[in-house]
């Protein structure tokens, strides 16, 4: 069964995104920690698209699709904005430096890469698409 959601590019919609993912996953017997890990990965990618790719322009929108293939969850997040957003390889955060610098950001994509089995960003026409997948046994 597939499930889809379209949201405008406002961080006010992040709660709606998390509820959408939770409700979809809660149809399966998964642990709270496992559900939270997937919710977090999707939230981080969506927040990056909203804030960094679209500058919180509410006239732009994102399309999310969730689908299970047996025990594998596949997530597609398609950005309908025209800014190509392809995060590069992420190094492990140096938290001692982050603390000294009082830095707030720079952990989101590290989390996504550690939480999901597969993380891919690519272009479709002049839009960016992110695919995430995770084996949920």
């Amino acid at each position: 069964m597939k499930s889809a959601l379209r949201i405008a590019c406002s961080r006010a919609h992040l709660q709606q995104v998390r509820d959408f993912v939770r409700n979809y996953l809660n149809t399966r017997p998964l642990s709270e920690v496992m559900v939270n890990q997937v919710v977090l990965a999707v939230d981080e990618v969506v927040a990056n698209f909203i804030i960094h790719a679209n500058g919180e322009d509410e006239t732009q929108f994102l399309d999310l699709t969730l689908a299970f293939d047996k025990q594998d969850l596949n997530v597609e997040i398609a950005d309908n904005g025209d800014t190509i957003f392809l995060p590069g390889p992420t190094a492990s955060p140096d938290f001692h430096a982050y603390i000294q610098q009082g830095r707030k950001g720079g952990m989101g994509m590290t989390l996504v890469n550690r939480l999901m089995d597969r993380v891919e960003f690519f272009t479709r026409g002049n839009h960016t698409v992110c695919h995430l997948s995770k084996h949920l046994a």
Partner: protein
């Protein structure tokens, strides 16, 4: 996200209630940025009702840590739900921050 401050003699306890994400992190940031927070010896973060944290929420704590350390203010987390603790663990932040199971241990930390 709701933040409730409970001051006592030398300790400020902040009760977090809700989901801490890129939208709500500003609420916590505003609380931690208050200058008089540095007058306390300890800031205890009660996470019993914190049901979610994203990197934006973690970033708020990290961004104030040096300021707290410079002022000799100890930041201690307690009552953390397993799914929230798991996020700290995944990044290795559980080794850099003081996270204890209960209020009793937080007061003793």
């Amino acid at each position: 996200m709701k933040v409730t401050a409970q001051p006592s003699a030398d300790t400020l306890t902040l009760l977090l209630d809700g989901e801490l994400d890129a939208s709500s992190a500003i609420v916590l940031d505003t609380e931690l940025a208050k200058p008089d927070i540095l007058n306390y010896r300890k800031v205890l973060i009660d996470c019993a009702k914190l049901s979610y944290i994203s990197s934006a929420g973690l970033g708020v704590f990290i961004s104030h840590l040096q300021r707290f350390q410079d002022a000799n203010v100890k930041l201690v987390f307690f009552n953390m739900q397993e799914k929230v603790f798991n996020v700290f663990e995944i990044l290795g932040l559980d080794a850099l921050m003081t996270i204890v199971p209960s209020l009793t241990e937080a007061e003793a930390a």
